[in-house]
């Protein structure tokens, strides 16, 4: 029995392996690096630019090709290209460096955009630009977590940003009309939820215009709906209280 000695090492370079288990068998395909994500997002349309070779393997690094019978039993087709496409779409893969980088970059910008859209500079009541937010996020060394939603992270980052720059969620402007008998009672309950009351009229019914934090909207909405049994009305005057138009500094 002879011992297998490698004559020389063959390294797989520029290869990304996509694996999938189906029908109790493991299937692999050999793809180019940094290309699978583009294929999945639809940016890359040429299959030949994604696949190294039009073959389905059992083990790519050993070069073991999958048997035809296994393929047809697992995928119920023996069209290799079709199988490759299925594996590409659903298989698992090691995300390569550039793919991860671009993904994180995009998320980072996405978070910055959400923050910029939701927040204002409380002094000027004007939004910050995305670039400025990005810079501020870098200043506080914010790192993106790929497995959390961008929105969630945006809300977190707002809290952190408050320590370094003047920033605040843009307020919502509401108007509600409450029947007189509920008015007094409700006002007490609403008070802690309201940031500023802009206008208040109490004659035969209570009419209020106020600014609230957008996070409280649901509570207020519910409160009014439940307490007044549908008699009170709630109107959103503006979802985001910001200055409009250009302002000349003078």
């Amino acid at each position: 029995m002879s011992i297998f000695t490698p004559t020389n090492q063959i390294r797989l370079t520029n290869v990304a392996v996509v694996r999938m288990k189906k029908g109790g068998k493991r299937f692999e395909i050999a793809c180019y690096k940094n290309k699978v994500m583009s294929w999945r997002s639809g940016a890359e349309k040429d299959l030949d630019e994604v696949l190294q070779t039009n073959t389905v393997f059992v083990n790519v690094s050993k070069g073991q090709v999958a048997k035809k019978d296994d393929l047809s039993s697992a995928f119920s087709t023996d069209d290799v290209t079709e199988v490759c496409k299925q594996i590409l779409a659903k298989g698992e893969l090691q995300v390569s460096d550039k793919e991860r980088q671009s993904q994180l970059e995009q998320m980072f910008r996405d978070i910055a955009t959400i923050v910029a859209e939701k927040c204002v500079n409380p002094e000027t009541k004007r939004p910050y630009t995305v670039i400025l937010i990005e810079r501020a996020m870098k200043d506080i060394h914010f790192s993106v977590k790929a497995n959390k939603s961008t929105k969630q992270q945006a809300l977190e980052v707002i809290k952190q940003l408050k320590q370094s720059i003047q920033i605040q969620r843009a307020h919502m402007r509401l108007r509600f009309v409450l029947p007189a008998k509920d008015g007094k009672r409700l006002k007490q309950k609403l008070r802690p939820l309201i940031k500023t009351v802009e206008n208040e009229e109490f004659d035969d019914q209570l009419e209020m215009v106020c600014l609230i934090d957008p996070g409280c909207f649901r509570d207020i909405d519910e409160l009014i709906r439940c307490e007044t049994k549908g008699k009170g009305t709630l109107e959103v005057l503006s979802l985001k209280d910001v200055e409009e138009g250009d302002e000349k500094l003078e």
Binding site: R11, T113, V242, E250
Partner: protein
């Protein structure tokens, strides 16, 4: 000229007739009896022509310096126009004549023709200014005559076809040596002369009367040596003109002897014949220029020539023309006659220019300039930091606010005054107002009114009689009262403190920065009108977005920008709706200076300037009939198109159906409502119409809003008429069977309820109140039914139009027609709801229904969800009204995508004046930046071309600078935003037909400009950009790191 003592200056300031205020307007580089000459030098670069404007306003006369070789440059024209607009009298200095001799080596004869040409050019500019003014007046007169004619049409009309040019005398406008307003000079060699000097010189020598010589020395005259007579027609007879023979030849000989041939004997002979004394040191000097200037500065000293011309020809402050006064006093389009009587009386004060105690003080401040605090004479000890200034400004601002508040509530301003006194204590200024006294005497400590540019004197005149400055001021907008803290004499960079300044003088006033922003009028009489705003030749065009390096320094930046705005007459700073801080400057050079000022003086922080955000609009168009290689699409075999459509439909999520005509049907997640929407491109005229009538639409919207709440809004008759007019115009533009009754069926405008997009109600059997209901107030008896959730549909439309699917930019020129709207819910919900809620306390599973929409929404966008009445039914998908909003928005977006989509770019119109030789290079720059030439015409009588072009805003960054560079400054563009234009190429275009495959290849490698724009915006906003991480899989660097 020796140094003059301060006392002497003060003494001279009191003699109005001995004052000359003038400025040097020069494009070329330049090197200064008992007259007080206030000389204001102004920079020649185009970017700083605002400085010229501020200088010209304060002067009575100007020395226009023209280069003898270059002649009239664009900038020369600009300064001449500025001088003309301000009605100040110019005198001309043709400088650098030595270059004609030494560099160009012209003969004296050639030089004479050359000089004549330059003079003609200058006069042509003045002439055209004059002509345009006369024609304008003429047109005005005609218009008046016409209006009077229409009144009594029976009056026989006699047309006067002469344009009025003949009647108006323009002879004293022109520059002519024999009028004494031209000096020929070579400042570098120290000589300069006017014809007067030579005329006097030769009248003694030749025995011809100097007045005759004066008339004949310039022009086509020659000396007949035999007859000793001066004859006309030198040119035709081939004789030497008198000017050449008597003047230029002498100078040429001098240069020949001194510079070219270095003939010592001849030089000595000339020197003795001229009766000059030249020091032997100069004679022996190796550089002939030294000798030359030694001789010339004695023979024909430039200072004497220029100064005597200035004193003789330029008016003194008291000679201010009535015309100019009227021009200064009438703001904007208001005519002088329409000013209040008291104000008109002030004209006399202007004309008198008296320094009497009784005369009202009138001062105009043309700019504020920042002075290093050390330079201020009274506080050389303690320098003032920028922070303190800003702090003080802030205090002043507060005080101002307080004062206004106090004024408005008509309280006694005691508290405000005490604050003022407290602050005044430490009030040491940094900004000095650059001003001129037009009437009266201004004293230190005097109380005066400061009138802002928008002040209206008629308001003040409603005050009770005898109200003096010291009285408490009721609230009058743009008027403030303050004390003159300190007065300065401006001596170059030095400031000398003065106690009083009589009329006619230029001065600096300290302590005004709280009251004056950029320019203002100061007076003791409230009847004084504010002066007309300065004419700025260079409008600010170069825009950059400025941001601090460290975001926490934002407040510092804002403060710095405010200070910059005050210090620079031509810089504009603004905060845009996007939150960007934009700095607008006149040019790249100016920008650089502004940024440096911000960094080092005003903000003192690190800042970064970047290209400002460029806005786009999204729209749809009719399906194109031609493909990219201009072949008819209909006949060709479509190779890939079928494949593409298939793919697209696969992309659509559940619940969305798109039919072949572009009708999109979409059902809400709870399957309760279905809407069918179609997107239709609006004709271009309609879009323009909508854009122009935003205010009217807003009024209509307001009316509907009030009607919705059972109130009425009073709209005045004129606006109603305008609305009617607008409606008629819309109807005339929306014709054809597709648009039948479209105007009547308009549901809403968007985004923000007044934008250039329309929501059409094409639902059968749904009649809602029209948007035109304000026009039909009388007919309001038959009130149409409004369905519940009507507002959700509108809100969905507003959201969709505010940010389109291409790159979340607003839509423009799109009409969404709602064709079907089915609801499975019975209308009266209210009671049912409340029951519902008791049993099922609103589970917020779809957590952020409202939040997800708020991201895209802005304030004016009101989603009026009436909780009790309408949006009540809650299921697992959140409130129903919210669902419907989202569904409508999505439907609009899909409908939009079902049509050929295009991006619209903001366009600048750009007017470029350029000479013929740089035309080619200018076109190159234009075409490189996707510009398009609209028209090109030659300016009559000059070699200048006026080119009108449009240029996308996206390509304009650095355009002005590039074009100036490429054309050596001979073309200067003016960019003004004009309109939105559809970019014709499709951002999603891929080759589909065979022809296109042949032409572009499978991948269409040539860049798609629209796609580039779109992706840039998407990338900036953090949206998904469809692009591959690596283009070619095989070309990656594949070496692993551990090898």
């Amino acid at each position: 000229m020796g140094h003059t003592s301060l006392e002497k200056i003060i003494a001279l300031q009191k003699k109005t007739s001995r004052i000359r205020n003038l400025c040097i307007l020069a494009h070329v580089d330049h090197g200064g009896n008992e007259y007080l000459i206030n000389l204001i030098d102004s920079p020649g670069h185009v970017d700083f022509s605002s400085e010229v404007s501020t200088a010209v306003r304060l002067c009575d006369g100007a020395i226009v310096v023209v280069d003898a070789i270059e002649g009239v440059c664009p900038q020369t024209q600009v300064v001449l126009r500025q001088a003309w607009l301000e009605n100040i009298r110019p005198v001309l200095v043709i400088n650098k004549i030595d270059r004609l001799i030494v560099e160009l080596k012209l003969t004296s004869q050639e030089a004479f023709t050359h000089l004549q040409k330059i003079l003609e050019q200058v006069n042509a500019v003045t002439g055209s200014l004059f002509t345009s003014k006369v024609l304008e007046e003429r047109a005005e007169k005609d218009a008046e005559a016409q209006s009077s004619c229409t009144e009594n049409s029976s009056a026989d009309q006699v047309y006067d076809w002469s344009a009025g040019l003949e009647e108006t005398d323009d002879s004293d406008l022109y520059f002519s040596p024999d009028r004494g307003n031209v000096v020929f000079a070579s400042a570098i060699d120290g000589w300069g002369f006017s014809i007067h000097q030579f005329a006097e010189m030769y009248s003694q020598k030749m025995g011809i009367r100097s007045s005759v010589l004066l008339k004949t020395l310039w022009g086509d005259f020659y000396l007949n040596a035999k007859a000793k007579k001066i004859m006309k027609g030198a040119q035709s007879k081939g004789k030497k003109p008198l000017f050449v023979q008597l003047v230029l030849d002498n100078i040429w000989n001098m240069y020949d002897a001194v510079v070219t041939r270095r003939d010592k004997e001849k030089v000595e002979k000339m020197v003795t014949s001229l009766g000059l004394k030249v020091m032997s040191r100069d004679l022996r000097h190796s550089d002939p220029k030294v000798l030359l200037s030694a001789i010339c500065s004695q023979w024909l000293p430039v200072s004497r020539a220029v100064l005597s011309m200035v004193c003789e020809k330029l008016p003194c402050p008291a000679e201010i023309s009535a015309e100019r006064v009227e021009k200064l006093m009438s703001v904007g389009a208001r005519r002088f006659d329409s000013l209040p009587e008291k104000t008109q009386e002030l004209k006399k004060a202007f004309l008198d220019c008296s320094a009497d105690e009784t005369a009202p003080v009138i001062i105009f401040v043309s700019k504020m300039f920042a002075v290093d605090s050390k330079a201020l004479p009274q506080n050389k000890q303690r320098p003032l930091t920028q922070e303190e200034i800003a702090q003080r400004r802030e205090l002043a601002r507060q005080r101002h606010a307080e004062r206004q508040a106090a004024n408005q509530s008509a309280e006694s301003p005691g508290s405000a005054l005490s604050v003022k006194a407290a602050v005044e204590e430490e009030n040491k200024e940094h900004f000095v107002a650059f001003a001129r006294v037009y009437s009266g005497v201004v004293r230190k400590g005097q109380k005066v009114f400061v009138l802002g540019p928008k002040y209206d004197p008629s308001l003040a005149l409603r005050l009770p009689e005898g109200c003096s400055v010291a009285d408490v001021l009721p609230s009058i907008p743009h008027m403030a009262c303050c004390t003159v803290d300190s007065l300065y004499l401006l001596m170059g960079r030095e400031l000398e403190e003065l106690d009083e300044v009589p009329s006619g003088n230029v001065l600096g006033i300290g302590g005004m920065e709280e009251f004056i922003l950029k320019s203002a009028t100061i007076s003791t009489s409230p009847a004084c009108p504010p002066f007309t705003p300065l004419n700025f030749e260079a409008t600010p065009i170069v825009r950059v977005a400025v941001e601090p390096k460290h975001p926490s320094e934002m407040p510092k930046l804002v403060r710095g920008m405010r200070l910059l705005n005050q210090a620079d007459p031509c810089a504009e700073v603004l905060i845009q709706e996007t939150g960007e801080h934009v700095l607008v400057t006149a040019g790249e050079v100016h920008l650089q200076r502004c940024l440096d000022d911000l960094r080092e003086r005003f903000a003192k922080i690190e800042i970064s300037a970047s290209e400002p955000i460029i806005p786009f609009r999204e729209t749809v168009i009719r399906p194109p009939k031609m493909d990219m290689v201009n072949e008819d699409l209909g006949k060709q075999q479509k190779v890939a198109v079928i494949h593409q459509v298939k793919e697209e439909q696969m992309k659509n999520p559940e619940g969305v159906q798109v039919d072949s005509t572009g009708l999109v049907t979409l059902t809400t997640p709870n399957k309760m409502a279905t809407v069918g929407v179609r997107a239709i491109p609006l004709p271009e005229e309609v879009t323009h119409l909508l854009e122009d009538n935003v205010e009217l639409i807003r009024t209509m919207e307001q009316f509907s809003l009030f009607a919705w709440e059972d109130k009425t809004l009073d709209i005045n008759q004129k606006i109603l008429e305008n609305i009617q007019d607008f409606k008629v115009k819309l109807e005339s533009n929306l014709q054809g069977h597709k648009w039948r009754e479209a105007v009547e069926r308009i549901w809403a405008f968007g985004p923000r309820r007044c934008g250039p997009n329309i929501l059409l109600n094409n639902i059968e059997g749904y009649r809602r109140p029209s948007v035109w209901q304000c026009l039909e107030r009388e007919k309001e008896t038959e009130r149409a039914e409004i369905r519940d959730f009507d507002n959700s549909i509108v809100s969905g439309f507003q959201l969709a139009t505010l940010s389109g699917p291409m790159c979340e930019e607003p839509l423009m020129g799109v009409c969404f027609s709602v064709e079907t709207w089915h609801m499975k819910i019975s209308t009266p919900l209210a009671q049912q709801d409340s029951v519902d809620e008791d049993s099922q306390p609103a589970e917020p599973s779809n957590d952020d229904q409202s939040e997800s929409s708020d991201v895209h929404e802005t304030s004016s966008n009101r989603s009026r969800s009436r909780v009790g009445a309408a949006g009540g039914s809650v299921d697992c998908y959140g409130p129903f009204s919210g669902q419907l909003i989202a569904a409508m928005k999505e439907a609009c977006r899909f409908a939009f995508q079902a049509k050929p989509q295009r991006l619209m770019a903001a366009m600048y119109t750009c007017e470029i004046m350029a000479t013929a030789e740089v035309l080619g290079r200018m076109y190159a720059v234009l075409s490189k930046r996707e510009g398009r030439v609209l028209q090109e015409e030659m300016k009559e009588g000059t070699d200048m071309f006026i080119i009108k072009a449009v240029l996308p805003v996206a390509e304009s960054f650095g355009f002005a600078d590039e074009i100036r560079k490429r054309t050596s400054g001979l073309a200067s563009p003016q960019l003004v935003f004009s309109h939105w234009e559809v970019i014709s190429s499709d951002p999603f275009w891929v080759p589909t037909t065979e022809e296109e495959y042949l032409h572009f290849g499978e991948k269409a490698d040539s860049t798609n400009q629209t796609l580039k724009y779109m992706n840039a915006v998407r990338r900036r906003k953090g949206l998904y950009v469809e692009e591959k991480i690596v283009e070619h899989a095989e070309k990656q660097r594949t070496l692993s790191k551990n090898k």
